[in-house]
Symmetry: C2
């Protein structure tokens, strides 16, 4: 059978199990030009929460009754399409389900076939060398334009994107300050990933920590979080600094998003630019190759939190908002054959 | 005598005459390396209001007791500096006074000598071909990156910067929509300056007017105003659109500036960049030459409102916030010799 999480209602605030119907459908049979993937890993990302809401966004929201959209990695188990061979590893929007029918009506992007023999773990294809890594890479390099000696601050620093942003900034010769919740995560950033400093936003003195960690101000703020943490970083930003706006995860569960003073952006001539990784789709190969090279050279660590079982997906997603994971958050659906 | 407006206290809300002492000092005598200019015209600009406030800004605030800072044009009447010859026309921060001592301690920027015989009126040296024009030119061209066929919206469109922004955007082949207060200004924009449409923000249906005027959305928002007008334009902005943030004049008198939702900037990948004309000081010659050429060719009209008498400066400044002027707002201090 093919277990599928279908969106039953639009969540209010945190996602709950009851926002979905978990149905058992037959394993799909490929029609002409179609293929079927056995899903092995599911990528959980903050943007999943946005897709569940009926708001203006960069992709259409998931319709009620539709299988929840989600990135994943799987293996082709049946195919009537010469682009997909049985046994191929594929990476794409496979959905919150056991099997994905590739080439079905309404498909947004066809999954990509991963070259055979690539010495990259499957989970890293979604994380450090996949969409997550590409988000970090293009947002930091193209929009942040870090120069050696710059101070780069990244929020949600122990998360999937943040861990990669900080490591790339170190490779580029920057002073790197991560903002994360709790001593364990902060220690991980400085001890395991080589960040120069970490600010624990759960500590009472986090504003002083931020100030002490950025004695020369902030040249690049890679923004993942929004809210008062973002405002405190903006206060530390330098003239002509850059702010790639990757996300504002702290507010995705809010019905009324917080509002911000734009005066510092004017006075300090800050360049703020929203982006999503899809904006750079023509350059995915370039980015993935660079990330894979750093991974194989040991300059980039692919940090991951893997939770077992498709049935855990809704609850597991909340880890992103509760700060429960370190690095890329992944649900394991099945073992590779 | 040299009449001088000295800042007495920091204005709260609107500027009043009582925020200044109008003192009569002796006409300055130039010391070694110094020169004296007779001020002829004073440029009144929204940023003057910012300089009066003790807030973080791009230049130091005017100190209490100091002569109010302001741009102007004058004639050198005495000089001990070979860079300034008696009779030269100079353009710079001459201050709210009858005479300016050039080379005095604390001078931020020395005034520029205007080449003799330049066929540009003195007032245009401050307006369409001066700081105002350069603000419009670099903000629109460099940050707005307009392409032919783009829809460009400019707020405070009948003001000094707005009139030039719109005319440059027309030269560049864009659809130009100006936002201004009142039918008279709106008619002026479409009939005299060739804007494609004008939105009267004082009309009850201004939101519908804006929607009707931007059927293909907005590619460039040259932002001068802030507040709810800005929010309404942001709502109309397209994917990958640009927003040069020149000012937020509607809120300069507010003790607590308004706050804004940044979600549309993320979702629509809008590039927002604050700037001031000083950021482009290495390219002033390029910009002024281009603007002067357009002026002499008749492609650019230098619209101005000139008020007589230095003593009117504080009240006249409020015209900027009340929408009382069309084009560049200038105080005439004295006739050229």
């Amino acid at each position: 059978m093919n277990r599928q999480f279908r969106l039953k209602r639009r969540p209010v605030g945190r996602v709950t199990r009851d926002d979905f119907d978990l149905v058992e459908a037959p394993v799909p049979t490929p029609g002409p030009g179609q293929a079927v993937a056995r899903n092995l890993y599911l990528s959980l990302d903050p943007t999943n929460r946005i897709w569940m809401s009926d708001m203006d966004q960069y992709l259409p929201p998931v319709a009620l009754g539709e299988v929840m959209r989600g990135g994943g990695v799987g293996t082709i188990v049946a195919s009537n399409n010469p682009d997909y061979q049985v046994g191929d590893t594929v990476n794409g929007l496979l959905g919150w389900q056991d099997y994905c029918l590739i080439g079905a009506p309404g498909e947004l992007f066809p999954p990509t076939v991963i070259p055979q023999g690539l010495p990259i773990p499957m989970t890293a294809l979604m994380g450090a060398c996949g969409m997550t890594g590409l988000t970090a890479y293009f947002g930091l390099i193209e929009l942040g334009q870090p120069k050696a000696g710059d101070t780069v601050v990244v929020s949600a620093a122990a998360g999937a994107v943040g861990t990669v942003v900080g490591q790339i900034a170190k490779i580029k010769g920057c002073r790197v300050v991560g903002i994360a919740g709790g001593k364990k995560k902060c220690d991980f950033l400085t001890r395991e990933l080589g960040f120069d400093a970490a600010v624990d936003y759960k500590a009472a003195d986090w504003r002083e920590q931020l100030k002490a960690a950025t004695p020369d101000g902030v040249d690049v703020n890679f923004e993942n979080v929004g809210g008062e943490i973002m405002e405190a970083v903006v206060e530390r930003m330098n003239l002509f600094s850059r702010m790639p706006l990757c996300g504002m995860i702290s507010t995705y569960n809010d019905a009324n998003p917080p509002r911000y003073d734009l005066t510092p952006f004017l006075m300090k001539r800050i360049k703020l630019q929203g982006f999503i990784v899809l904006d750079f789709k023509d350059r995915y190969i370039e980015g993935s190759m660079q990330l894979a090279q750093w991974l194989l050279e040991g300059k980039l660590k692919a940090q991951e939190t893997v939770v077992d079982g498709l049935e855990t997906a809704p609850e597991t997603l909340n880890m992103l908002f509760d700060g429960g994971n370190i690095g890329k958050l992944i649900v394991k659906i099945a073992d590779a054959a």
